[in-house]
Amino acid sequence: MEMTSTKQKMRALSGDEAVAYAAKQCDVDVVAAYPITPQTIIVERFSEYVHNGEVDTEFICVESEHSALTACLAAAATGARTFTASASAGLALMHEILYVTSGCRAPVVMAIANRALSAPINIHCDHADSMVERDASWIQIYVENSQEAYDSIIQAFKIAEHPDVLLPTMVMLDAFYLSHTLESINVLTDEAVRGFVGTRKIPLVTNHEGRLVPFKLDPENPITIGPLALHDYYFEHKRQQEAAMQSALQKIREIHNEYEETSGRKYGNGLIDPYRLEDAEIAAICIGSTAGTTKVVVDQLRAKGVKAGLLRLRTYRPFPSQDIIQALENVEAIAVMDRSHSFGAKGGPIFHEVRHLLYDAPTRPQVVDYIYGLGGRDMPQTLIHEIYKDLERIAATKQIKTPVQFIGVRD
């Protein structure tokens, strides 16, 4: 195993800058992007690379996010490696095309700086924007810090382009906590990154004449992409997408492990990132940068002898069901932390998906939900301590007073 982690350089970068830098190193062919706070630095930084000739990439300053993703999709269909970024309303504007991109099996990579959806308008950290797109057949990866943002963008190209996957991939980083905060990031050399992602290989498909041809727009081997498929064929297309999602579970793990060999860094097993969970009796589950704060709280509790742990979900789609069930095997009381909500439902999306899994567990733990941090409301250690205190009570009494709570909000 060749460890090249000594060949890395330390740079002071914000999450946005780390994302742009990673994309820079991945030999992207086309970037089509539209600015939106707090992703703007990604596109600005990348524009600088382009205008200074530091990358051989065409940058299309499109007139909206809908066109941004469209142009990336069409460029990818032509055979290019493409990248874009958005957040909040911009991602919402792309909504229609998210489904089209995955339906066309285009391996577009997109960074999302998780920000609240309007109204009221709010530019701060909130997971509503990407959470609502979890049905769109995109691979979804949430990062805890800017180092992971850098690492995950690089992995994303390899995951998306893998012939067993061929699904667009979005990497989420929290607004401002990560996007705008300076961190010391270890970056690989250009050669190491290029060696890792390689050049995009176009898969072969059977065309309408029965020949095997590359799946791209090419006058040599014309194909039709994005047809009308009626009740007699649409369903099979979707079934294939689901099969690709299931294959992705293993591929994401494999590529994560390959990357660990190159960089020396890992994040759990690539799908989930458990923290002090092996013998935990009580545990919280969350995604994103809140995991960082929660790890501090867990350490404080452990120092006092409390068997607390944390399960951070890194890959959200495909949902790592088996890994989650296994990780939570011995936990008695679980608090899901949702930084988004499904209005009118009993709790937020992560609560739904995790609790649903635990229905089949041999011993069902107690599971409660905390909706927190909407619109960038800060989630300090004190509030997380309250959550763990609740969990201790629940584990002791085996009783849940309030299954779903909004925490940190004015009454």
């Binding site: 499109v62 007139e63 909206s64 032509t78 095309i97 727009l217 047809p227 009308l228």
Partner: protein
């Protein structure tokens, strides 16, 4: 601006169609005819992209396709963004030596649905950025694929299902958006209007659009028997009458300089050849409601509007 391409009728007849027969367009479909004509202008390798609409739906019903060339459809409002993505990918891939072809043309097709209204943002953006592609607007003057609803391209007082000829409001109250003039105002190198009734003019214009460096916009009138309510055998007649009445004049703008095309120029030089608009309106069921005593005055109003726009066009073409 002249095209270097010289061709005879036989050349055109012998040139292979890039759109195969067997697609599901209606009998008498104007757009299907316009597509065949325009695609004859292809000069080499070409990639097509289509907005959602009649032609997209009838030519690509999985597992069949009528397209002999590479083709992509993504959504309704974004064909110009498709073209931008394709053109840009080709540019950079060529630079990185991943394409062996010398040059590949990009042609985007959309109906008036995907152009005037929902598609205008992407079109305007692509035009502003100067991508090298030909955008073909096949104008059948309503959202035909979804059932004949009005568009920005529907003419004044035409019946559509969302602008019906009612007791209080006789058809579409608004006017046809001057989309081609809007495209000229974008300062793109080539804009032209064409009609499938004048196929040579249309084909030459399509070729010029492909040859020019930068965005080109070709507005092709493509009558629809179902939506305009006329017999399926009369599509070419309608496309001709539109020009002869100056309802749809034929012109080009090369680097924003206007010039009339032959079929309309002949009318400018011999005004007696200009047919009354009533002849055009009377031939289509979508204007039938204008021929009642209460509504007859509207046909005079329409004649005034047509004359006014015609005069303005003549001025732009330096032919007052």
């Amino acid at each position: 601006m002249d095209s270097t391409w010289k061709f005879t009728t036989r050349d055109i007849a012998e040139k292979a169609d890039l759109l195969m027969p067997g697609h599901r367009a209606c009998a008498g479909c104007g757009p299907a005819v316009a597509y065949r004509q325009i695609l004859k202008a292809a000069r080499g390798p070409i990639i097509a992209t289509n907005a959602t609409g009649c032609m997209e739906v009838v030519t690509t019903i999985y597992p069949y396709t009528a397209w002999k060339i590479p083709y992509i459809h993504t959504a309704f409002e974004n064909v110009a963004a498709n073209a931008a993505g394709i053109e840009t990918a080709l540019k950079v891939m060529k630079r990185k030596n991943r394409i062996k072809h010398g040059s590949i043309d990009v042609i985007a097709f959309a109906g008036d649905g995907g152009t005037y209204d929902i598609g205008i943002q992407a079109l305007s953006g692509a035009a502003e950025r100067g991508h090298n592609f030909l955008y073909v607007l096949y104008d059948n003057e309503a959202y035909m694929n979804t059932g004949i609803q009005r568009s920005g391209g529907t003419p004044h007082c035409a019946w559509t299902t969302t602008s019906p000829a009612g007791r209080v409001i006789p058809g579409k109250p608004e006017f046809k958006k001057p989309i081609s003039h809007i495209m000229v105002a974008h300062s793109i190198p080539y804009v032209a209007t064409g009609s499938l009734a004048y196929w040579r003019d249309l084909i030459v214009k399509a070729r010029k659009g492909l040859e020019v460096e930068g965005p080109a916009f070709l507005h092709a009138l493509a009558p629809c028997p179902r939506g305009w309510r006329y017999d399926t055998s009369k599509t070419v007649e309608m496309a001709r009458l539109a020009v002869e009445t100056c309802v749809f004049p034929l012109w080009e703008a090369v680097d924003s300089e206007y010039s009339l095309s032959a079929p309309s120029k002949v009318i400018a030089l011999k005004p007696e050849r200009k047919k009354p608009v009533k002849e055009y309106l009377k031939s289509q069921g979508r204007f039938r409601h204008l021929f009642t005593p209460e509504n007859e005055h509207i046909t005079d109003e329409i004649q005034e509007i047509v004359d006014k726009r015609w005069k303005l066009l003549l001025k732009k073409c330096g032919m007052s």
